[in-house]
């Protein structure tokens, strides 16, 4: 039986038609994958399915009743956004049960009763946390599950929509999440699952709907389609990720050396990066990979050790100094650390390049337009105009703008921290190609990634981190996955690899 049935959904924004006659049917006890490139209309569709936005035309029936007329029906559709948006300073129980009125707790909630209610939910969703812990202090994967538990417990939900729930999870944490989702599905809920990761789509999905440029270009049971076919549907053309191979150049002279670097959450980290190398950094979320890189770059304070860049010591603690020396870091947190949301695409690109387009401190508007136009064209950044505020661009195009900006600074060492998080397959392939090109041209690359496949494709060497320390250094290709995995989960390569209980 259909829990939700949307037909002929159309929604446009000034200048773009985001959705054009889209149909979607959510069945009880099925995981429905929503696939499409960045900007295909997935987010808009989610906003309409959850009642946040109204379609211009089309119908939505929930339980067979017209939801656009009776908006209370949308309460049955729970939604978990991509970004974590918990109250980090409040307790797990408070996060779970707010608003208290709906949880039957009244104006002055009783502690014991709250604890009991929360405990039941924590058990149901397999969350490893105590009710009184601060939400910001539990593991990211548990925060993700907490967010799902909150969406599910705040209302009598029948369908659950998850927008890229695994983008900050490791494979093992993802498996835990999937176990919870499968249980919800088997209880008769409908699950909408949005992801760019092929393996997950085929692992979890029962059926798939593909959007491209606001239209539904395909719908099939998962058995009836394969990864190549799905990619072809999403992009409208062949995209071959396999074409990208690590650059086969011999490593050149030493570019960067970290010696005994220590800081928040990690200690005594030493490694070297040579010209032409793509150094992959693998590890679980929380292993300290981003902390090491941000400390190396000067964004976070170091508590010990040192870094040499091009043979000279790097002054730690000052990103401005690092950038001047040719060390550039591209953060995983695009919104938080990458873009200037309310400034135009042009300004976002030009802000790092003002020295090149100004004379005597005065910016030349003509040269600025020319240079930014060139970068927009070279990296195929799609925007209505260079004057569009960058926050209105899709994630993939924002990422391309950030990468283009970094490249134009001609860095000696470029650190990519999860560069393809939330990026569609086609743009992913473009980014892999860029990384290979850069390495070939002599730039040292550090690639932090949670996707083993990504490291396998791009890196020339992979170091692994476990609990704030380097646990291994392996050539790539040339190392089998079990050895890598053992180092990532902190076991000696020789020992057995235990599977953590979910």
């Amino acid at each position: 039986m259909a829990i939700l049935e949307a037909a002929g959904i159309r929604r446009s924004y000034p200048g773009v038609v985001a959705l054009d006659g889209v149909d979607l049917r959510l069945e009880a006890g099925r995981v429905h994958v929503l696939a499409g490139e960045n900007g295909a209309g997935k987010s808009t569709l989610v906003k309409i399915l959850t009642g946040i936005e109204r379609p211009e035309t089309g119908t939505i029936r929930i339980d067979g009743r017209d939801a656009l007329a009776d908006r209370a029906l949308f309460r049955q559709i729970a939604y978990v956004p991509q970004e974590l948006n918990l109250f980090a300073h409040l307790s797990v129980a408070e996060n779970l049960l707010m608003p208290f009125g709906r949880a039957g707790l009244g104006v002055i909630p009783r502690r014991g009763r709250m604890r009991g209610l929360a405990q039941a939910q924590l058990r149901r969703f397999g969350i490893r946390a105590r009710p009184e812990q601060k939400a910001g202090e539990i593991a990211v994967s548990d925060q993700q599950l907490l967010q799902i538990a909150r969406a599910a417990s705040a209302r009598e939900f029948r369908a659950l929509i998850l927008d890229e729930p695994t983008s900050s999870l490791t494979d093992m944490e993802t498996a835990r999440l999937f176990a919870v989702l499968r249980r919800l599905r088997d209880d008769g809920h409908a699950i909408v699952f949005i992801s760019h990761k092929m393996a997950e789509i085929f692992d979890l999905g029962d059926e798939v709907t593909v959007l491209r440029n606001g239209r539904r270009v395909g719908h099939a049971p998962i058995e009836a389609i394969d990864a190549a076919g799905l990619i072809r549907l999403m992009s409208g053309e062949e995209v071959r990720l396999d074409d990208v191979v690590p650059p086969a150049t011999r490593p050149g002279p030493l570019l960067l050396r970290a010696a005994g670097l220590s800081g928040q959450g990690f200690s005594d980290v030493s490694f070297e990066l040579r010209q032409g190398e793509v150094l992959g950094v693998a590890g679980l979320v929380g292993a300290g990979r981003s902390d090491v890189m941000q400390t190396l770059f000067g964004f976070l304070p170091a508590s010990g050790g040192g870094v040499e860049l091009g043979g000279e010591a790097l002054r730690l603690g000052s990103p401005a100094h690092s950038v001047r020396r040719g060390l550039v870091y591209l953060s995983e947190e695009r919104k938080l650390h990458g873009i200037l949301p309310r400034r135009s695409l042009r300004e976002n690109i030009a802000v790092s390049l003002l020295g090149r387009i100004s004379t005597g401190g005065v910016i030349s508007a003509r040269r600025e337009r020319a240079l930014t136009g060139e970068i927009i064209a070279r990296y195929a950044i799609r925007a209505a105009s260079p004057e569009t505020r960058i926050m209105f661009l899709s994630g993939g195009n924002q990422q391309k703008a950030i990468i283009g900006r970094a490249m134009a600074q001609s860095p000696r060492v470029l650190i990519f921290d999860e560069p393809t998080k939330g990026i569609d397959v086609r743009t992913k392939a473009e980014i892999y190609r860029l990384i290979a090109e850069l390495a070939r041209s002599g730039v040292g690359i550090i690639l932090v990634s949670s996707e083993m496949e990504e490291l396998r494709r791009c890196a020339t060497r992979i170091i692994t981190m476990y609990q704030g320390r380097i646990s291994g250094d392996f050539p790539n290709p040339g190392t089998d996955s079990d050895t890598l995995l053992a180092a990532i989960i902190g076991h000696h390569p020789a020992g057995p690899v235990p599977v953590e209980a979910a």
């Binding site: 964004f299 953060s331 938080l336 003002l354």
Partner: protein, 312 residues
């Protein structure tokens, strides 16, 4: 069409100013007289100088509530130097403007080095500067300011009051700096997303300190021009220059969250407040109403901006 118009940031506040100006002309025969326009231009000059500085700080994502106190402190310092010590009035004036810059710079350094919130810090610093002012003067005005510098407050250039011309010159300078130079661009970047600005390798703290220093300098300049105009150094100079510049900035499209707007917009906002205050006086309405009306205008302006963003 609407989207394109909305992208011209000054259109809304510019149109609002023209509309209010035209309506005022129709409402009162005294409005469009040379005498009245001169008064308005001169009043706008003082609040305008402070507004330029405050708008730049707001763009940076900061705020300085001690600008009025800095203006007052520098004004009485000028009076003490000129009258008490008999120093050259021009030299004294220059030194006091520098003093204002140093006060602003101190605020900026404290905000940057101690990672303090500028709202809280500058409330405290307003007390410090205001207290120094009272210690030095015991609240009594310093009279007998040399007439030499009177031209700065009361003179005219090409039919325009000197303070107004000074304000326009600094507005042009500030606009040029904000739009066409690297530090100006960095200010917008820092206000929009400080973490990203740091990641980009911008010298966030240096730009912040420079912003505070410039705002302090402008406030002190406004204070000295006021001394020149009054011929006395009143300890109360600057008391009413704290909130109107913030209101003017917001009316003029400078978001309190930082990263957007421009000094020109803020000055147009200040002009709107000035015209409304003026028309209330011309109508003989009790001045007690003035503050209520300009307060209501601020709320209307923000409400309009928020609504048009939601609908746009």
């Amino acid at each position: 069409m609407w989207a394109r118009l909305r992208r011209l940031p000054l259109l809304g506040v510019g149109a609002a100013f023209i509309a209010i100006f035209v309506v005022s002309c129709l409402l009162s025969p005294y409005f469009l007289t040379r005498f009245n326009l001169t008064i308005m231009a001169r009043d706008l000059a003082f609040i305008g100088l402070v507004t330029i500085g405050q708008s730049i700080l707001l763009i940076l994502g900061e705020l300085d509530l001690s600008l009025g106190a800095i203006a007052g402190l520098c004004a009485v310092a000028g009076g003490i130097l000129m009258v008490g010590h008999g120093w050259n009035p021009w030299l004294s004036l220059g030194l006091c403007v520098l003093l204002g810059m140093l006060c602003g710079m101190l605020n900026g350094l404290l905000v940057a080095l101690l990672r303090l919130h500028s709202l809280v810090l500058t409330i405290g610093m307003a007390g410090v500067y205001g207290g120094l002012n009272l210690v030095a003067t015991k609240g009594i005005a310093i009279t007998g300011i040399p007439a030499d510098i009177g031209i700065l407050g009361r003179g005219q250039v090409g039919g325009l009051p000197v303070p107004f011309v000074v304000m326009l010159a600094l507005l042009a300078l500030a606009s040029f700096g904000m739009l066409a130079t690297a530090p100006g661009r960095y200010a917008y970047a820092i206000g929009d997303n400080p973490a990203a600005a740091r990641m980009l390798g911008l010298r966030v703290d240096a730009v912040r300190v420079a912003g505070f220093a410039f705002a302090g300098l402008l406030a002190a300049l406004a204070g000295m021009l006021m001394v020149a105009r009054l011929g006395t150094a009143q300890p109360s100079i600057g008391d009413s220059w704290v909130l109107p510049p913030i209101a003017a900035s917001v009316i003029g499209g400078v978001a309190t969250t930082g990263g957007t707007g421009s000094p020109v917009g803020a000055i147009l906002g200040a002009a709107i407040i000035g015209v409304i205050d003026n028309i209330i006086v011309l109508f003989g309405v009790s001045p007690y109403w003035q503050s209520m009306v300009s307060g209501a205008i601020v709320v209307l302006a923000i409400a309009f901006d928020s609504l048009s963003r939601r609908l746009g």
